[in-house]
Assembly symmetry: C2
Homo-oligomer: 152 residues x 2
DNA sequence: TCCATTTCGTTGAAAGTTCAACAAATACTA
DNA sequence: TAGTATTTGTTGAACTTTCAACGAAATGGA
């Protein structure tokens, strides 16, 4: 990435603006519904949802941060808030003294149940109602390849 | 959007997780380079870039907010900062007393020139180096359709 | 073993964003 | 045209995220 790269041409720019438009606007669209329905933002929802799907409904903080696509610091602050609301609990990892394990509480499960139906409906209405199965698969495959690069 | 929607099946979920992964991680990847190279975040860069491409390098605040995919309030705060650094200037619109016009200054143009090469290189390395022309067109078309729904 | 390095998580402060309230100007309508 | 509603933009407070610094625990060589 050291040599001078050419600028984007018109066609590239058009595509890029659509992509970045989705990237910039989707989070606030999702946050809005979650805030109204369950007083959560998407990152908080993601934390609860990730824990629900995890074995024992428990994950290490750093793994949780990774699957939630956020920094460990961000997760740490959010975990403090969620713990304050008794939606998750944290305790020291018995096998690695550096690690902290986070687990979903009953309250967290309930809150997730409050948020989820509206969230799924919204995601359907914004994404899956617009794209058919094949298109969605294409989008997912392209996004997966980009994600590999971004995640470095 | 009122009836109970079915949950996402495995294939849908896999695609969705890739999409949301890009949505969540791309902004911080872009912010990092811009902060290092030119002490800007992506939203600020977008404001300067939008003005540069505008006629007279000038836009109404609310139009600017729209093309930058942000709220007017967010833009207003950012504009105050950018104006403080003399990267943009604001003045009342002569034809509509409610409106404010923002325009790029020489300093703003210079800052953009500092930021742009690295930014374009990064976007190329993350996006265009991974996808060929045809794939990028596909992605752009799919994203454009989603954007239409999200932008309501 | 000992020491340097890395990993893990938290913290407080700084920076940024959202939200609700507001004022000013324009547009609408009866 | 008077009164109401809408559009536009700003503001301050509350909230969230980032950044850099830190301590504790584990790892890896010499």
């Amino acid at each position: 990435m050291s040599e001078t790269a050419p600028w984007l041409d018109d066609e590239e720019m058009t595509s890029w603006l659509s992509v970045i438009g989705v990237v910039m606007r989707l989070p606030s669209a999702l946050d809005g519904q979650l805030r109204r329905d369950a007083d959560l933002n998407y990152f908080e929802y993601g934390v609860l949802a990730a824990l629900e799907h995890a074995e024992e409904q428990t994950m290490r903080m750093s793994d949780l941060a990774f699957v939630c696509n956020g920094s460990l610091s961000r997760l740490s602050h959010v975990a403090r808030r969620l713990e304050g609301e008794r939606l998750i609990a944290r305790y020291a990892c018995p096998t690695d003294g550096r690690s902290t394990l986070a687990t979903l509480t009953d309250g967290g499960r309930e809150r997730l149940a409050t948020a989820a139906p509206g969230h799924v409906r919204l995601v359907r209405s914004l994404i899956f109602d617009e794209l058919d199965r094949d298109e969605m698969r294409q989008l997912g495959d392209l996004a997966k390849r980009l994600l590999t690069r971004i995640q470095t």
